[in-house]
Amino acid sequence: MKKKLVLSLMMAVLLLLTACGGGGGETVAEGDDEHGELVPSITILSSLPEANMVNYEMANEVVEELRALGVEIQAEPTDFAVLIDTIYGDESDYDAYTIGWSGRVERLDPDMFIHSINHSNNADAGGNNTEKYRNPAFDVLADAQRQEMDITKRRELVFQAQEILAQDVPRITLYSRANVQVYNTEKFQTVENIPGEGLFNEWTPMIIEPLTNETILKVASNINLDTLNPMGARSVYEWRNLRLIYDKLVRLSPEIEPVPAAASGWDIVDDNTIDVHLREGMAFHDGEPVKVEDVKFSYEAFINNNVEYFMSFLEPIESIEIIDETTVRFNLVTPYAPFITTTLTQIPILPQHIWEQMDDQRNDPNSHPIGSGPFIFENFRPGEELVATTNKDFYEPAKIDGYIFNIFASPEGVLTALELGDIDMVSYDLVPAHIEQVANNEGGKYDHLELTEVKDIGFFYLGMNADRAPFGNKDFRIATAHLVDYDLAVDVHLNGYGGRGGGGLVINDANDFWHNPAVPIYDEYNPERAREILAEAGFTWDSNGRLRMPKQ
């Protein structure tokens, strides 16, 4: 009897609720025709929680905030491959999404984060400007910085470009992770932790000093390597090894300045002509000398094989000439400022006598790479390890006798191996739980380890499709930037190991030289202010509390 009563009561309540909901949601109350269009329903394609928990959480936060402002919005966790397909697909069928740009070393040059992802030329389907941001005034600056060969003047242009981005907020940076990595201080000393690169960068293997008679550095990775062919290499993990085996003309110093490597120096003859002088007396690991012909051959091989990853860096090259036995001249189509910092620091010098004999350079397995770099390739077992010994004839030989790149299946396995002293260094960012574990050092288990932390130049963000309402409205984007709790992302979700985001922030303070500290960015969590911004911009709320676009 009692049960029945409760049941019928519940039914009644339910009926009442649906009646109210139905009546309120569908019909437009009188007076609402004075408002503009309803803000269309928004879907945020967020990361899957297992792929990126922080992005997933932050997307849900934004959803809640916008919902409180009367916007119909939901988050849809999406697999990475599906997300890439959607945002680079032909239909451009999306409202907003969360994703990130990783902080690779070549992205220290501002061209990627200024030009490539914001220029209106790249706003068509498939381009990197997936926010469809179009501002002619910005485009002028983005083009100019690319062609300005004077670094001080270029910096000024990049600073101005950042100001415009901070005002227009094409995307909202949510946070950036810190690169927290660890190494064994009982066995080794002197390391560099470089933003976007971590410990296993181009310099650490060269400068690290062994403290015991174990002179082989054991580096842990939790990602497998796919190929040893530099033209086929698709992930940064192959590159971290290949660039130690193959030498390059220029390397970026830990302070991110170009320093001569295989080149002894370079002259900028004019804006379109750069002469590079080759260091003398270098040899490949098979004993053959490194000649200017090899340099010309290498660059042309990368251009002719259309190696996707390097296409944008190599596009500005018109031709390559050999001037004399130690000089190569690069003729450019147009002035290209990142040429020295990016192009010359990226392309490995291949031995012509080996590569010209390959039938298919692009797909050759290159199972025993021979370069002229500081380390000599010994062997590689897929899924297990890559072994390299030190090239004692290198112009600045390393202090260790070689290194082993150990491939693990899981970060848990790496932590155990660190604990047991089986490995000396990690090559990836520790997950927050492991950072805590090592930092707490319970029972002195990790006395032999030292955590190193450096800010990442990469960032994770909320991308908004400006071709669609409401994100086409700049004020709506600025208001949204006030709905992100930037401190929550860093302090709670990242345990403090990260950097704050902000509206339109693309070059963060980890990139000391190019970051413009004077730009005021919208990086304050303030839902009240967001409401004011919307109201000032002409947005209104109808009698149902739903947000409406400014009246045309």
């Binding site: 697999d79 890439i84 698709r234 897929p382 072994v387 396995g413 089986d422 490995i423």
Partner: protein
């Protein structure tokens, strides 16, 4: 008999082609762009286009399918998108590691399972029997990665008897099969993962053997043997166990068929460079050729071992014959 085998092989070939077709279209029906993992998002759109062209994504599904089937008939699974190398050689490289681990685990679990199962049926109702069942079921239901982690914690981290992970001590050199697999270092690395896998598998042969034994033990000839006053052990292993083996043999043959797929979680926990991990990664990376190749080989192996089981049946039990 030969005719029977020939017919079965014929059916199997048709089945594999059907399965291949299904797998092909299943993968194509998966949402997501295969170039997402091949082409870095920062590359210009032209680069993405070049990659699409290179891997044939721009051809119609039908054209892709015809090429795939033509290659398949020649036993060519194409090149992996991710590794850029032939799928066959990739699978060939990873297979020994997986098979050695799985077969070691199998031998361990089947020897204990068969003898233990027979003995448990004999001791039916005793405390030892229920203890045996509980023991095997605990390892069957406990997550293998958890058991693995606990074993690593105890035997590798605390006691330091065996290495924690990997297949060899790093920096080890060796080129031939014997140098790589037939040595003490490898065996030391093999113990822990094969123990964890073996403990997980043990419930199958143990319980099948026990149940099948119980059935056999109720047969008249066992009564007869008891009446003749034969020794317990003779009845148990000579008269009963041999006849109870049949279902275990089927299970064992099917096990070998599926062994190629490996035990992903165990390979993960022990950083074992086997095929199982590779297949999972191939699917997430949308590396269709590698995933297709692996799945087709797994299904072919399963069918083949099914046939082997059927043939073994006839050999073990003269009452069964095929026409």
């Amino acid at each position: 008999m030969l005719k029977y085998i020939a017919r079965r092989v014929g059916i199997m070939t048709v089945m594999i082609l059907l399965i291949a077709t299904m797998i092909f279209f299943l993968f194509r029906a998966m949402p997501g762009d295969a170039t997402a993992y091949i082409v870095d998002p920062s590359m210009p759109p032209e680069a993405r286009e070049i990659a699409r062209e290179r891997y044939g994504f721009n051809d119609s599904k039908w054209v892709q399918y015809t090429i795939f089937m033509k290659d398949l008939v020649r036993l060519d699974f194409g090149n992996s998108y991710f590794y850029g190398r032939p799928v066959m050689s990739l699978i060939g490289e990873r297979l020994p590691a997986t098979l050695i681990l799985m077969l070691t685990a199998m031998i361990f679990s089947y020897i204990i399972g068969i003898f233990g199962g027979a003995w448990m049926a004999w001791k039916r109702g005793s405390k030892l029997e229920s203890a045996g069942i509980t023991f095997s079921l605990i390892f069957r239901s406990a997550p293998t990665f958890w058991v693995g982690l606990m074993m690593i914690l105890l035997f590798a981290a605390k006691l330091r008897w065996v290495p924690a992970q990997g297949m060899r001590t790093s920096g080890y050199t060796g080129d031939t099969f014997a140098e790589i697999f037939l040595n003490l270092d490898f065996l030391r690395h093999l113990i822990l993962p094969s123990l964890v896998a073996g403990l997980y598998f043990i419930a199958t042969p143990l319980l099948i053997m026990r149940n099948s034994m119980l059935e056999v033990l109720s047969e008249d000839y066992i009564e007869m043997a008891k009446a003749k006053g034969l020794k317990e052990r003779t009845i148990l292993y000579k008269h009963a166990a041999r006849n109870a083996l049949l279902p275990v043999v089927t299970a064992g043959a099917l096990f070998i068929g599926s062994a190629i797929g490996g035990q992903v979680l165990i390979e993960y926990v022990f950083s074992w460079p086997g095929l199982g991990r590779e297949i999972v990664q191939a699917v997430t990376r949308r590396d269709y050729p590698l995933a297709q190749g692996a799945f087709i080989i797994i299904s072919a192996m399963l069918m083949m071992m099914n046939l082997v089981a059927d043939i073994l049946y006839a050999v073990l039990d003269p009452r069964i014959s095929y026409k």
